[in-house]
């Protein structure tokens, strides 16, 4: 672990500097393990129900390649910019943190906008939560991910207001870093949704 004596401007790990920071980051990793189980259960349910369309629309009829590709690119890129923001944080560059985190949030909002319009379009085509077991599984799995992204956007925005007020202290850095972990995790979950829901659904 880097100590507080590392000169300003060089890469160090401010988020790990306090005992509290180390505990909370470790605790968050453990929480993410629980989140993995949560999403695994949703994936298992979805895969069991995926063929049970009950005469309603199938994934192949609903999914638009262009739309979910754009969603995927937005989220993957946002994960990259989020990583850049954490690098800037370790350099002690507050402005860089803001630039890259705001870019991240903007792409997150873009992703959410597309997902909401996707859901609205499905509902207009008569594919709702109530239509079939397949669609119940779809909306709840993808919707849970979307709800997580929404929470992430709100959360990271609030952390940024704290950074604006207090600067890059060990405490705000720890919060930023944990927000970043959360964001990357949602990206990983999306990769599985992309594969297990959208790509598999097109077959």
């Amino acid at each position: 672990m880097a100590s507080s004596s590392v000169p300003k401007g060089t890469p160090n790990f401010p988020e790990y500097q306090t005992e509290e920071g180390r505990l909370k980051i470790f605790g968050f990793w453990v929480f993410l393990a629980a989140e993995v189980v949560l999403f695994s259960t949703l994936f298992a349910t979805y895969l069991v129900l995926a063929d049970r369309t009950a005469g309603g629309p199938t994934g192949k009829e609903l999914f638009e390649v262009k739309d979910f590709m754009i969603e995927t690119m937005l989220l993957l890129t946002s994960s990259f910019t989020c990583g850049l923001a954490v690098l800037e944080m370790r350099k002690g560059n507050k402005k860089g943190v803001f630039i890259w985190m705001i870019a991240t949030l903007a792409m997150g909002l873009g992703f959410l906008g597309m997902e909401i319009s996707e859901f609205v379009a499905y509902v207009h085509e008569g594919a709702t939560l109530q239509t079939s077991a397949f669609l119940s599984g779809f909306f709840v799995l993808v919707g849970t991910h979307g709800a997580h992204v929404t929470l992430g956007v709100v959360w990271i925005s609030l952390v940024l207001t704290q950074v604006a007020k207090r600067g890059l202290t060990p405490m705000t850095c720890r919060k930023l870093f944990i927000g970043g972990l959360y964001w990357h995790f949602l990206d990983v979950v999306w990769i599985f949704i992309f594969t297990a829901v959208y790509l598999t659904g097109l077959i």
């Binding site: 989140e35 189980v37 349910t45 129900l49 109530q130 077991a133 119940s136 599984g137």
Partner: protein
Amino acid sequence: MGLFNFKMPEHFIIMNNPLIIGAWISIILVSVGIVFFVTKYKKWGYLWREWFTTVDHKKIGVMYILAALLMLFRGGFDAILMRTQLALPDLKVLDAQHYNEIFTTHGTVMILFMAMPFIIGLMNVAVPLQIGARDVAFPVLNAASFWLFFVGAMIFNISFVVGGSPDAGWTNYVPLAGSDLTPGVGINYYLWGLQIAGIGTLATGVNFFVTILKMRAPGMTLLRMPMFTWSTLITSIIIIFAFPVLTVTLAMLTFDRLFGAHFFTIDAGGMPMMWANLFWIWGHPEVYIVILPAFGIFSDVISTFARKRLFGYNAMVISMVAISGLSFIVWVHHFFTMGNGPWINSVFSITTMAIAIPTGVKVFNWLFTMYKGRIETPAPMLWSLAFIPNFLIGGVTGVMLASAPADYQYHNSYFLVSHFHYVLIGGTVFGCLAGMYYWWPKIFDFKINERISKWAFWLFVVGFNLCFVPMYLVGLQGMPRRVYTYGEHMGWTTWNFVETIGAYLMGVGFMLIVWAIIYSILHEKRDRSGDPWNGRTLEWAISSPPPHYNFSRMPSRVTSADPFWDAKKRGETMFDENEPLKPIHMPNNDGMPIVLSGFMFIAGFGFVFEWLLIGFIGLLGVIGSMIWRSFKDYDADHYVQVDEIERDQAELKAALEGRS
């Protein structure tokens, strides 16, 4: 189903039964009484400062245990009602619907709102002291865990008088629990009560995992941890991997019931069997969540009162790890009869039987720990000694049930009911009571009275066997579980009557335990020296009750798994008295957990009645509480100064000298 739907259910206030009217009267009297006396003696500020906002793991543990005892009373009262109804053929104490509600709430309350908080309460009390920590890793989260559990339990319990209780069994199988066959709010109460309490439990799992891995005193290596701490660590891992499954499963049935989704419905492609699978993928690990800590308690207690080092420490740890792994791959044995096919049933039969191996290893280790020991039998040891044969009966019948072809005979009979009561009462309840008796003189400065406790013990254990041995027999004679009455011609009358006598004896035993506690609060001898049992592990090296920061100096001589015992043998203490005292970093009290949980109550209540607006307002309040906390946690801790520590030490010294 709109946002502004505030339709009242047909029966909002339940008043159709003398029992429920009695419950109403007692709830109102007790509530008015509490408010009156707290106000009269001006204790609201004290309660708020010392209890409602506390982040001290010891106080949180006490609140958990108090709540668990209340729930044990509630669940026990349900049991007494059921046994009264079944005492003789064709009785009319309860009607079929009421009986359904009572066996549902009995099971749910006993597992989720009695066993869980009792276990978690003992973890809170003992684990940080056993590893030499000044608190858990996330004290505010710990308080939130408690209040979420409390709100979940309250939501579940008010169903009795407001809106109607759940009535589909504690396993809540669909399609029965779906909105087609069971409309109304009862099942919603089940879903939201468990959901809210479950989130609290998950947070507890994360908290204790991090606490044990990261906050041990110098020298306390993993293989020097007391066995109760080990069992807590493994239990935490099970919680982290099992509880999210419950969260999702409950949420999916909520979507089915409130929003017309089709996860578990019969039509539109839903799969009712998926509920059974998902429920038990959580539910089977859950029974190990409540039994492993009990194993840990027995290990510590038996080693203490046999005055011997625990036999086979490493084997104990490996066995627990093996049990935790196996606990995730046995769930199908709960429904061998539901058409899984011989191949799947065989696999799950074998994994289930395999659990007997590590469990058997543990039983032998307890016996060998006592072998040639100088055994003493105060109350905690009595419960531990009773555990071994009773749990063995439960375990052996468990292996019988694990055989899939034979299970077609036992399934859903009283044989099964008796099996799981032998493991849950003989294991978990005996363990919780042993733990309560064992650590009581650590949380407070007195023991629970021995004489009354021995009476309670014998009444309870004899009553327990009178109640449940006959259940095996009527089970083999074909009596199914969950029937509200039976005919004279079935030939089950005698045994059922004996069972009822046994249940009443257990009830008397429980009341005596409560009396023993009250009597001891009033009359038992006070002793603050902190080592009433001649203990072996770190928690006995500090005063009773410990100061709120637990350790004024960090223990520095942890050289074995029985560090305090070994230090006493060497004529040393656990602490380097020459080391200067330093200010201690401690978390501030925090009102967020109880406020957040209050909003969670509003959310849960709203969603139970499908009043979505109220539900969403509650959820917004929950998120708002977290945001509020995030902005003020820059000022969430303080230092206990050296002069305060010295004052505490002087006061303790005076108290000890005054005694001698």
